[in-house]
Amino acid sequence: MTCSRRDFLKEAVGGTLASALPLSAFVFITTDEAKAAIEDSKVRWAFLVDTTKCVGCGLCVKACKTENEIPYDAAVTRTWVERYVITKDGETHIDSPMGGRDGYTTDLIRDEEIDPEEIDKAFFVPKLCNQCDNPACVQVCPVGATYQTNDGIVLVDRDWCIGCGYCIMACPYGVRFFHPEHKVADKCNFCYHRISKGMQPACVECCSFGARRIANLRDPDDPVTKIITTERVAVLKDEYGTKPHVFYIGLDANVR
């Protein structure tokens, strides 16, 4: 057998490439897992926020930080509560100090005193990840570290995120941030570890006023789904085409 230098190099490069493909590139899954991946899920998680019921106590933010191990005093949070005060001169005053974690116990908005007589209306708006159907964050992740599960939740793989921040830039809702300890992108996932075991998200569980509720849109008998489908609800920033799945009751035109 003869082998020219050219042929030898060709074969060598080919062989090296083939052997460089590690076994770990293949993922072995069970038949159940394969079925679950192909079939449509029986669950599509959604969230319902009743702004008329929120009193701005901040317990949801506290619970979320504790449950999801977001450093308590770090100025980033998976969920937050905004306070809106609209005065008679048409001005909208908004604040959310520490995400509203400590509750709104003072009348001061960013050190500004507002005369109660001057207030037209005031309310609180809880915010969290919208688990969009067409998530911009998933689209822009260069390595696929953030992905959408087939029950609609967008998750982040902490072992694969490179920390480029593109997803943070792409989210129109500002729900993403860098986790101060893990140094990777982080965001609300409706407490996926809880809801996938039949429990409620931490913020829902601790809300004494029923302002936060979770729904399975694929279950027509779900009482929260019934509210979303039969009552007048709105979403935030639908102009971005992300198809958000956090629905609001009593959303005001001033809400950003």
């Binding site: 100025a75 949070t77 909208t92 959310s96 520490m98 915010k127 689209q139 260069p142 490179i162 860098f178």
Partner: protein, 417 residues
């Protein structure tokens, strides 16, 4: 005593009015440097291709230099990204598991393709020289000569044929590579513009014009940097030869060739006009259509960032050098000043896009102000601070110095094929 919690971005972000709790200036100085350096790479390559592909003979001198300089700039285009990543050890992941719906995922592929084109073009251009060196150094005594010869032997990759036929093939290959290189260089940079232009959440970035604006300003900055470096090095060498006073050598000195500079200047002006026209179109269009975001954009452009945009970028970085370059009786000194201002103007354009795009909250109800960390007190404030940026700026010159030792792009007696 618990360890101090560092929230990324908090150290250099000052918030004003209502800003969402998680909003910070996440993309800071290194992301300004990234399109700036990539633009320089692309621009330098386009300048060299004007000679290699379009046969602009006057540009021959600067074209050789630009080609090698674009190689020195190349690794530096990726450097800011590495310095910016929160997980730099995972930097290879976009190549291993690219998620192709993301603009960034293509970076590794485009970048590698481009690097191969530049490297092989340089090889074809300088192969004859490499072979000559191997022969010239053959019987020279001394370890350093032996080492240098070894390097050149590696550089030839075993191709010692310097017959007229072989050199003709070299030349053809270099021309073809230069031709392929132009669209790839434009793509490399155009898609850097796409990274920003496709972010629908950002009112300032979201624009289909962004990639085109980026390409135009890239070519402007690339030509300007090559001209500037070329003039400075040539004048510096001439200066030293004069000081040494060798009459024989002094007679050969032509300084930076005026013809080359004139021609390159014309191209620079052309691309500058295109870049400014597109930017103006973008600005006018935003103002005229006055979408929801216009209120906050206007307050940023005409208010908070007025000096950065209209004084530093458009006036000092575009208008002044434009006038300096077209007024008759242009001297070399005036050209150098104009080139520095052009480089500054393009840098400010990148700054105003990247930092300006984060100067307002997604809520359109507040502002964020970026304070660049000057004196670093941690790795993060070094990486994403003034000194990190200066490191990035200094690197290509160091690299060029090393590369130029083996690939003498500035010696007139070595013109390659």
């Amino acid at each position: 005593m618990p360890e101090e919690i560092i929230v990324h971005g908090m150290e250099w972000t000052i918030k004003e009015l209502f800003v969402y709790p998680n909003e910070y200036i996440y993309w800071s100085i290194q992301i300004v440097m990234y399109p700036y350096m990539t633009g320089l790479v692309a621009g330098a390559f386009v300048l060299s291709s004007l000679y290699h592909v379009f046969g602009q003979k006057e540009l021959k001198e600067i074209a050789q230099f630009s080609l090698v300089f674009s190689l020195a700039l190349l690794p530096v285009a990726a450097m800011p990204l590495l310095l910016h990543l929160q997980q730099p050890t995972r930097a290879m992941e976009p190549l291993l598991t690219p998620h192709f719906t993301s603009a960034i995922a293509a970076f590794g592929i485009v970048f590698t393709t481009y690097a191969l084109i530049v490297l092989s073009e340089i090889w074809f251009v300088y192969r004859e020289y490499f072979v000559a060196q191997v022969h010239a150094l053959k019987d020279q005594p001394g370890l350093s000569n032996a080492m240098t010869r070894m390097v050149y032997r590696v550089l030839t990759i075993g191709a010692y044929d310097v017959s007229a036929d072989a050199l003709r093939v070299d030349k053809k290959a270099a021309t073809i590579l230069a031709a392929i290189g132009i669209p790839v260089a434009c793509f490399l940079h155009g898609y850097a513009g796409f990274i920003f232009g496709s972010v629908k959440a950002n009112a300032l970035w979201m624009s289909p014009l962004m990639p085109v604006i980026f390409i135009m300003s890239a070519v402007v900055s690339g030509i300007a940097l090559c001209m500037f470096t070329y003039i400075v090095i040539m004048e510096w060498q001439a200066f030293w030869r004069r000081r040494r006073g060798s009459a024989e050598e002094a007679s050969e000195i032509k300084g930076a060739e005026i013809e080359t500079i004139n021609k390159a200047t014309r191209y620079l002006l052309g691309f500058l006009i295109a870049a400014i026209s597109l930017e103006m179109l973008d600005l006018i269009f935003r103002g005229y259509t006055a979408m929801k975001s216009w209120d906050i954009l206007r307050s940023v452009m005409y208010g908070k960032d007025f000096v950065n945009i209209f004084v530093l970028q458009y006036t000092l970085g575009n208008l002044v050098p434009f006038v300096l370059l077209i007024l008759p009786g242009r001297t070399l000194k005036r050209t150098v000043l104009a080139l520095l201002l052009v480089l500054f103007g393009v840098f400010m354009m990148r700054w105003n896009v990247v930092i300006g795009g984060q100067a307002f909250s997604l809520s359109f109800s507040g502002y964020m102000h970026y304070e660049i960390p000057i004196i670093p007190h941690s790795l993060e404030t070094f990486k994403e601070g003034l000194f990190g940026a200066l490191t990035v700026i200094a690197t290509p010159f160091v690299l060029f110095w090393v590369i130029n030792k083996f690939v003498p792009s500035l010696r007139r007696d070595v013109q390659g094929s």
